[in-house]
């Protein structure tokens, strides 16, 4: 199956007052059509900057120096003009952010924001048709009182409801790639479980590929087909989800797994402050995609 996204040897440096800091040290990653791929790591490991590079957002920052191959659906992203990149966002690629309430604009109703999203694909879509389409999409995320929701402002809805709205918007234009950056982290555990299940079913049905960014290994295990583990700007392990969880090969992945508290008990493990084995070379399981 062809790759929707192909990242080759991606490097990112930031120029600051104290010199140049390298944040990504050459990461390679691919996602096939319809595949759900997770990028998992701690804060500062480079997960979110990778997503922002794919979307072409970080390229707008003067202090960022980016090198490496970026291919999306067969086209070289590095050769795109700002306008072409802008056209891809919200149509072919879309993104779900961590906190649904703050990612929606508080001064516009859901209907207005939905119309804006739908007009990214079809600029002449009449308002009424956009509203009907939005109602259909809200139905697909199990929001049945769509009239009330469409007439509401984001702050009038619960976090779980806003998350569903954001999922519906992200999938409205049938993108081939969805980037989900810690979706549901800001939600309660029961609501998070429901929305992840919903997102899982919808992307499967639409055949959308997903780059799922998370620090929560439990959520990754339930959502992703394949996993990349990232540590300090380097991919340290990759493979199918089951292989990584059953047989983690890299010291860092093993430490991450061990540190997750279990609902079956067993106490909190002792974690060394610095472990040089975390910088060991990458471990690739069969089907890891490299």
């Amino acid at each position: 199956m062809s790759n929707v996204l192909n990242i080759r040897d991606l490097r990112l440096r930031f120029r600051g007052y104290t010199g140049v800091t390298e944040v990504l040290h050459g990461i390679s990653l691919n996602i096939r059509a319809g595949e759900r791929v997770a990028l998992v790591g701690e804060s500062g490991s480079g997960k979110s900057v990778t997503a922002r590079i794919v979307l072409g957002i970080l390229q707008e920052l003067g202090s960022a120096q980016i090198e490496g191959g970026l291919e999306f659906a067969g086209q070289d992203l590095n050769k795109l003009s700002r306008r072409q990149w802008h056209d891809l966002r919200g149509t072919e690629m879309s993104m779900i952010f961590q906190d649904p309430t703050s990612s929606l604009n508080p001064v516009f109703t859901i209907a207005t924001q939905f119309t804006e999203v739908l007009r990214r694909r079809d600029a002449r879509l009449p308002k009424l048709a956009a509203r009907e389409r939005a109602a259909e999409l809200l139905n697909s995320v199990s929001i049945h009182d769509h009239d009330r929701v469409l007439n509401s402002y984001p702050f009038q809805l619960s976090g779980g409801m806003n998350q569903r709205v954001v999922i519906a918007m992200a999938l409205a234009n049938r993108p081939s790639l969805l980037i989900a950056d810690e979706p549901g982290t800001a939600l309660d555990v029961t609501v998070q479980a429901q929305t992840l299940k919903l997102m899982h079913d919808l992307v499967e049905e639409a055949g959308t590929a997903v780059l799922f960014i998370s620090h929560n290994l439990g959520v990754v295990r339930e959502f992703a087909d394949r996993v990349y583990v990232i540590y300090r700007g380097r991919i340290v392990e990759t493979g199918p989800t089951a292989a990584i969880f059953e047989n983690p090969g890299h010291a860092y992945t093993r430490a991450l797994m061990a540190a997750v508290p279990r609902i079956t008990g067993g106490g909190i493990p002792e974690i060394d402050d610095v472990d040089t084995a975390f910088l060991d070379p990458i471990v690739t399981h069969d089907g890891g995609g490299l």
Partner: protein, 268 residues
Amino acid sequence: MTPILSLKNISKNFGTGANTVQAVRDVSFDVIPGECLAVVGESGSGKTTLANMILGVFGQSAGEILFDGQPLPDRRTLVHRKAIQLVQQNPLSSLNPKRSVGASVRLGLDVYGIGNKADRWSLVEHALEEVGLPADFRKRAPASLSGGQRQRVAIARALACQSQLVVLDEPTSSLDVLVQARVLRLLNDLRRDKGLSYVFITHDLSVVRNVADRVAVFKSGQLVECAPTREMFEAPKQAYTRQLIGAVPVVAPQELRLRDRLANKETL
């Protein structure tokens, strides 16, 4: 044994007339000395309102709070404020960015008059060492520390005041999993060594399973179930508790089996 903290039929209302919101309704529980009682529930279940009443941020609308057998007044005395301390979720916003780490820890010592003026810096250094930070960190600014180090400072600040009861409001929610494990171990060790009692507020049931002695489950301001931790996870009595445990994302096969067992019980 006299409970260190006793809540008797506590309620809290906000607003008046038709706009009254009952944030906490008729809640009673005890915390015995040396115990870690976890308070779990979803957003809006009344966990933080409860913490604020224990800390004396605002008074309760009805009921009584006893500390070490004595009723706590709505306006707390210095003695009570010293004995009951708080560690918050986000150490970056709970530490004053313009104060050095040492000055933040020392403030409590000055306010509560702990030790001689001359000794206080050494007490600050001792408190930092107890939480696993070097003594010379007292000169650093919070912004120069990592999230885990900042949370250690917040813990040192709470413990330097010779507190007996610590209210931990989601103390590890903003930390990465490796840092979380280190901070949780530290909290466990400090409780054991100093004989502290904790009210551990969290929505993370996996953490609760591994640190708490007893668990109190809240829903819409009401206490729906309170039981020893092991009993709560292996045989929860309330459907809501089973639902909460069933929604926890898990990593290990034995955890999946527990979740499936609870889910089957749910459908029976």
